[in-house]
């Protein structure tokens, strides 16, 4: 490289920047979070042994899987928004709450219809977000944040700040009561008595998400839109549709998560889902998705979700209180994001 510009009269201006990409960085980008997952598992095993019990005990694995199931469901959709370069969907908490409210409110129509209405409410929210951000190019953070506040206001005023219980909303007929009971049951069913339905649903959602992301034309278009919006636009991709679609997927996933959340809590209220916006973003970023968009994978996101769960698990093994965890989580988050950003820059983006 340097020979080419040797004839430059001013030697101080020699471009000494590295043009090769560090192999380690590439490796980190490829394997990404799974390295950390393995490291955390090893750490967990050591700490568990020191405590005299097994990290791989059925109950512990199950508890990790269950603790992350809801987050995983939301993350499987959130990745599209981050991937498309729109940073974060701040309306996730109220999407979850809204889906729970709608499901419980319509439980009288029967369980499948109620579920469909819940998911549909998520799709509607996604469409509105998609229209505002994809079509009108609103600032993604500010819009979704403001929309979150609006949804919160609507839910609070319409339902008067109350909590909804499925079995008291349900009419006094066998049909409605059965619907309410099956609603409660979805978060409490164990397939084969071991793995909870929630964990299965999460994995299924990740598989679907992976399929959409890597096997469909939408996934391919999304890659281009996330990498370079302008380039995608000039190559004839309907960017508006792609971005809208990414929000619809995200809100749908959040709605499914919200329904399970409401079933787990046995109540639907406006405060369901508080904190999920940031927690899920943490998982997605941990999974190696770049904030700028165009980089990342669904498999990595699953790794991010697991890493988050295992980290929490280990922190409580070590005996940290609920609040000290915040500081540790914050520092870990910053460190991961820094590595993420650093590798992004080394790869020539950003």
């Amino acid at each position: 490289m340097s020979e080419q510009i040797n004839n430059n009269p001013n030697p101080a201006k020699v471009d000494s920047r590295k043009t090769e990409i560090n192999r380690g960085i590439i490796l980190f980008n490829k394997l990404g979070i799974w390295v950390i997952v393995v490291a955390l598992v090893i750490l967990g095993v050591i700490i568990a042994m020191a405590n005299g019990s097994s990290f791989f005990g059925a109950s512990n694995v199950q508890s990790i899987l269950e603790a992350v199931a809801l987050q995983g469901m939301v993350c499987s959709g959130l990745i599209y928004v981050v991937y498309a370069g729109n940073m974060n969907d701040m309306s996730i908490p109220l999407t979850m709450a809204m889906a729970g409210m709608m499901t419980v409110q319509s439980i009288n129509l029967g369980f499948p219809i109620a579920l469909a209405i819940g998911v549909l409410s998520g799709v509607c929210i996604g469409l509105i977000n998609g229209f505002m951000i994809g079509k009108l190019k609103a600032n993604p953070i500010i819009w979704t944040w403001g929309f979150n506040l609006l949804l919160s206001g609507i839910i609070r005023v319409v339902w008067g700040g109350k909590q909804l219980y499925a079995d008291s909303v349900a009419a006094d007929t066998e049909y409605a009561q059965n619907a309410a009971n099956s609603f409660y049951a979805i978060s409490r069913t164990y397939i084969g008595g071991v793995i909870s339905l929630m964990a299965i649903v999460m994995l299924v959602m990740f598989v679907i998400s992976w399929f959409i992301h890597s096997k469909t034309s939408f996934g391919q278009k999304l890659k281009l839109v996330g990498t370079s919006y302008e380039a995608a636009r000039f190559s004839g991709i309907n960017c508006t549709r792609v971005v809208t679609m990414s929000y619809v997927l995200c809100s749908t996933a959040a709605a499914v998560g919200g329904i399970f959340y409401a079933a787990l809590r046995k109540t639907a209220s406006y405060e369901n889902g508080t904190g999920y916006d940031f927690a899920c973003l943490t998982c997605v970023l941990l999974g190696g998705t770049l904030l700028g968009g165009g980089q990342g994978s669904v498999v990595g996101t699953l790794g991010g979700v697991l890493a988050y769960g295992i980290l929490n698990n280990i922190l409580s093994w070590v005996g940290l209180g609920t609040y000290t965890k915040y500081a540790v989580q914050g520092v870990v988050f910053l460190a991961i994001v820094w590595i993420n950003t650093y590798s992004e820059r080394k790869l020539g983006k950003g």
Binding site: N60, L70, G160, S196, L264, R265, S316, W317
Partner: protein, 428 residues
């Protein structure tokens, strides 16, 4: 052109919002607030309101008689959803002497009952009391009160509805403000409430420590202040006309007794607490802790955690406990019988540990269901509507000129599988 029309649209939205504010608020709140002005020294804008034809113009005597009749009828007729009288009279407890000064007690170990004396008992120096406004003694009918609750929750909704119902029954009108668990918002609401000049203000303080200042403000403004549900510290009691609420400590101690018995006096107990710093935090964690330490010295305290009220978070904490402590974990004490109980029971079921006893402070719908199914061993009965009823009862008695007890507690009970039917359908 479009931009202009948009701007006009924007301002129209604002105007509509503003008008809504004006109409909405003047429509449903001010009229009852002004009906009772004859007992007040000066009404700043009384001229704008033509309240002369209001029914409260009648003399104090007949209003008092009407109020007393209303009161008797209300006590007899108004029932809670689980079939207990809502306006039942309160219960009082003996306050033992403190075993030392506040500083000495503070130095004691957490597991010593004496340390929590001032948390457990409302033990204050009555000679320091502020000058309370005297009772008008002209009847509760037509009085306007403002209730400032702590925050939105299913419990609060139930409480607010019961409070409104009880107020209506004794002929009072009320406004309920909800500061959403935020202390500074509650401060703001207290200013707002004082500004409305109601006949009484009831407060459920968000923070027990800060309550003194809040009640001082109300009492200084010449309005009787009632503390509801959450106990406050000794200093605050000097500014509180009367406290009504559950005796959380006593309830949790009774619960702990039963738990200790069921555990045969040995094993390990872990605690999940209420919001850190509030009075239920101390009562529902250190109440059973000290009781168990005193009566069953072989019972160990394993861990105390504050994961909040999210079922998923609680579930994780409990699952981690089960892995960490294994068979050492025999019982869990919860500060809440809804979300916390659900999370805990889920985790226990997932681990297949049906030997772990779970007790909780109650009573919510979810909790009662869990007791019925046997997943929750026992819980305390803390009537939410009874709480509201006792507060209204005390306020009404104050307006009727009856001598009121400065501290009164609602009735208490322990709920197990055998008697859960008496307490259903649940209040919330």
């Amino acid at each position: 052109m479009k931009r202009k029309s948009l701007a006009i649209l924007l301002s129209v939205v604002m105007v509509v919002a503003g008008c809504l504010a004006g109409c909405g608020s003047s429509g449903n709140e001010t009229a009852p607030a002004q009906t009772e002005e004859e007992s007040k020294p000066a009404d700043s804008d009384g001229g704008t309101e033509s309240e002369a034809e209001a029914p409260a113009e009648s003399t104090g005597g007949s209003n008092l008689e009407e109020s007393l009749a209303l009161f008797d009828e209300a006590v007899a007729s108004v029932m809670t959803t689980d079939g207990h009288p809502m306006l039942a009279p309160g219960v009082t407890f003996e306050v033992p002497a403190a075993e030392g000064t506040a500083e000495e007690l503070e130095a004691l170990d957490d597991s010593e009952s004496a340390k929590w004396h001032y948390y457990e008992h409302l033990d204050w120096d009555e000679s320091q009391d502020a000058q309370f406004p005297a009772s008008p003694a002209d009847g509760s009918k037509g009085k306007h009160v403002i209730m400032i609750v702590h925050g939105a929750h299913a419990w609060t909704t139930c409480f607010s509805e019961a409070f409104e119902q009880a107020c209506e029954a004794v002929g009072m009108t009320c406004d309920i403000y909800d500061p959403n668990w935020d202390q500074s918002t509650q401060d703001g609401y207290i200013d707002q409430a004082i500004n409305e000049q109601p006949d009484a203000i009831g407060v459920i303080p968000v923070s027990a420590d800060h309550a003194a200042q809040q009640f001082k403000k109300i009492t200084d403004a010449g309005i009787p202040a009632f503390c509801v549900n959450t106990t406050v510290n000794a200093e605050a009691m000097n500014y509180v006309m009367a406290f009504t609420g559950p005796n959380d400590w006593y309830q949790m101690r009774t619960l702990a007794d039963s738990l200790g018995e069921a555990m045969n006096g040995e094993g390990g107990v872990a605690y999940i607490t209420h919001n850190v710093g509030g009075s239920p935090y101390y009562a529902r964690c250190y109440g059973p802790l000290t009781e168990l330490a005193e009566k069953y010295p072989n019972i160990k305290t394993l861990d105390i955690q504050s994961p909040g009220f999210e079922a998923a978070a609680v579930k994780q904490v409990v699952a981690d406990w089960i892995t960490k402590f294994g068979d050492d974990l025999n019982a869990i004490v919860l500060a809440d019988d809804s979300d916390q109980a659900i999370g805990t029971v889920e985790a226990i079921k997932a681990a297949g540990r049906d030997d772990i006893l779970v007790v909780a402070a109650g009573i919510s719908k979810q909790g009662a269901e869990l007791v019925e199914s046997g997943d929750l061993y026992m819980m305390s009965y803390q009537s939410c509507q009874g709480d509201a009823g006792l507060a209204v009862r005390t306020m009404a008695e104050y307006f009727n000129g009856v001598d009121i007890s400065r501290v009164s507690y609602i009735g208490t009970d322990v709920i197990s599988k055998d008697n859960v039917a008496d307490f259903t359908p649940c209040q919330w």
